[in-house]
Symmetry: C2
Subunit: 408 residues, 2 copies
Amino acid sequence: MALIVQKYGGTSVGSLDRIRNVAARIKRTRDEGNQVIAVVSAMGGVTDSLIKMAADLSANPSERELDVLLSTGEQQSIALVAMALHEIGVDAISVTGRQAGIQTTGSHTRGRILEMNPEFMQQMLADGKTLICAGFQGTTREGMIQTLGRGGSDLTAIAVAASVKADVCQILTDVDGVFTCDPRVVSNARKLPEISYDEMLEMASSGTKVMQSRSVEFAKKYGVVFEVRSSLNDNPGTLVLEEHPNMENVVIRGVSLERSQARITLTGIPDQPGMSGRILVALAEAEINLDMILSNIAHDGLARHSFTVNSNDLGRAQVALKSVLDVMAPDAKIETEAGIAKLSAVGIGMRSHSGVAATMFKALGDAGINIGMISTSEIKIAVTVDETRIEEAARAVHAAFGLDKAPA
Amino acid sequence: MALIVQKYGGTSVGSLDRIRNVAARIKRTRDEGNQVIAVVSAMGGVTDSLIKMAADLSANPSERELDVLLSTGEQQSIALVAMALHEIGVDAISVTGRQAGIQTTGSHTRGRILEMNPEFMQQMLADGKTLICAGFQGTTREGMIQTLGRGGSDLTAIAVAASVKADVCQILTDVDGVFTCDPRVVSNARKLPEISYDEMLEMASSGTKVMQSRSVEFAKKYGVVFEVRSSLNDNPGTLVLEEHPNMENVVIRGVSLERSQARITLTGIPDQPGMSGRILVALAEAEINLDMILSNIAHDGLARHSFTVNSNDLGRAQVALKSVLDVMAPDAKIETEAGIAKLSAVGIGMRSHSGVAATMFKALGDAGINIGMISTSEIKIAVTVDETRIEEAARAVHAAFGLDKAPA
């Protein structure tokens, strides 16, 4: 008998019929001889309609009260799923975030998990019950309701799995798993049987939108092996786990692409200590996320900084930069280029194999695709290309690393 | 500075505009120099739509899960009212049933309040906050969410008022207060400035539908003076409080009427110990509430029992009685009469004034109205009359006791 944590998202519980389907799947898992804790999100649409009410009352609603309001969505789901399970003969019980012992800290609407106290869940499991646990929320040490922000239900599932020492944690979603590349772009992309936490993190931060990075980080920190799989079929998904030696036989695990990027280049910046810091702080205060950051010194002794931002942030970034440069470096120039995309090749095999960058650049060159910026980490090589060429680029690099073929 | 508890029902918070109105009223009370704790119900319609979802999933949904589901309605209201208050500059904070320290016991969906721990509320009051507290719910000692059943938000308001030793507890509703009789029946009925707990209890149990008896009982037990008043205007309402000597100057405080009653009479019951008990148990097991109960022994030594039930229960009552009498008293007869109504005159002054029953019966006789059953308590005389004559009867008795005139 295995103890399995399953996470169902808002689409999976989006109607009463879908709730019945979720109940049937939980029962099937149970009937196969397992103990089950299902972590569920709010019914699709419920959270949005609650947010709409709050927005109607206030342009800037209190985050504490938003948490009180939004957490009701999952509380409704757990009760409804439990009722659907009772109806098919499963002894289920709903568990709120507080009852699950999820103690949170930090800001309202984006809490962090501080501590887990699974005592109640363990007692219910010992009583033979199937547990339906509210995703996305916990309570602070002071007893305040706090939600966990985007991807919060994934995080709940992984934290619950860690706290009860589950054998398996399944993140059930609308894709079949993690692929070598987006199958809508590369038709012969393969579903990966497994991927390491670090590779998953690099892919998440370079455009692969299966899971939020912090859920993966949490899983890595607590050693929770989880599986991303479809809620619509019974196909095995992708296991996400700590790397093991065999994994390095594959040079590149996958290729991610991220569109709607823009490059900002600042030239003529005096090369003085603290200058870059002040520029980055100005952007951070404007809540602009930078991605690739490159800096060097030109022959005239002036610094040159380039970075990529999301196209949507380009206007705000220019405003923020202008106000800081006007004071600090009136002679500096701001150049921008929108319409670019980022292609990343990710794999822990990169550490022990050489020539990876050469293979990637040759493939892009052979396809006649110009490379803009380049940035690397220990297990990733990322380049920018013209956005109109990103799909070609992905196919070329995917083929160059033989990702369409299963590894030997 | 007074500490005021205000209770707003589901109609009062039934839309975002009404929530803004409630917020404005709370602010006004606050601006008059008071501290406020507002107890609010779920937005009108929310509870019904949640019940509908549960009913769709199960003909007999788990009561524990119903509590988890239904308690979200009030949790949404408190967050929204708090947001509306922030928007008009009031430092408000929502308080769930658990945070309010409402510890409950008993069955799910009809919990009883076991204990109050107002520590968090007191701390928030000391911090100068206006508190918006969820009605209708608390948590058990084991941390399970439990709702308080019908009228649960009134009960919450009174329990909160008791626990924080509020100066005033206002039950804001859609009527202006408690009247000498239903103004739709007796056009010159007067709003009572005050009424004793016991009178309010007798009136609640004899058809005056302002509040559930158990909220009044709770208030009596803990000595909470509360005021029933309109949420739509600023008129003073009716104070409900422990009786004081002046109150006995009024013989009859008010007249209640209750329609849709039916009489059941059992004749030919052997006069043996335990016989009545078994009949009453059979009716109780069928969940039929008896109201007036009369018994006596006929000249043939056989017992005769009469009681009133709600017309809707008449069929089920007959089935339950038949099955018990078939075994115990095969010669007994069941007679029924539907289409009757009950008229009650209530007043603590009855204890010290004689001739009350005579005045009432004479008034009815003068109006040519026949009296069916009669039952009395220390502070109530109730009679049944033909349902078609109940309004005339109410007007006759109301006039006979001079209830249209303010007492000297």
